[in-house]
Amino acid sequence: MYPELKKLGVDVLSVSTDSKFSHKIWDETELEKMVEGGIPFPMLSDQGGQIGTLYGVYDEDSGTELRGRFIMDPDGVIQATEVLTPPVGRNTDELLRQVQAFQLVRESGWKEATPSGWTPGEPTLKPSPSMVGKVWEVWKP
């Protein structure tokens, strides 16, 4: 997934409550067997959960963090988030779709919008008073 994000000009940071030493050992002993060249982005250590608390994803009972994912635009604004409890992993296709949609909308100066289920290449909507009641003409899910 990382190469696709890199192509879109997106940086990645991962965060857990593990130490930076643990990150290094995990990367060197296990992850590099799963990802060629190991993990290409910074792995942050949030011991104590301060960052997770700031982002609403720190669970005090277990002392660990939920699967929280935040997309931030170049202005530093959070545009999307998804938070899962630990047993279910994420869907990176949906992450890529959301990044592409937000990039397109931002490029348009926030004038265009992408309807539900939009994928790259499909028409976007240009909300305006004249469109009220006529969305059906341009978008048929």
Partner: protein, 49 residues
């Protein structure tokens, strides 16, 4: 109280980090201003992400 909200500026932070090939560094969220960024939390090393 959590401060992060969709549509609002992301709360800044700094953190110790491991970066492959570079070792241990401090990372600040504000270093990524001007770029798209995905921030991913996960429960722990040696589990799946």
């Amino acid at each position: 109280m959590p401060e992060a909200r969709v549509g609002k500026e992301a709360p800044d932070f700094k953190s110790a980090a491991y970066i492959r090939g570079k070792g241990f560094k401090e990372v600040k969220l504000s270093d990524y201003r001007g770029k798209w960024l995905v921030l991913c939390f996960y429960p722990g090393d040696f589990t799946f992400v």
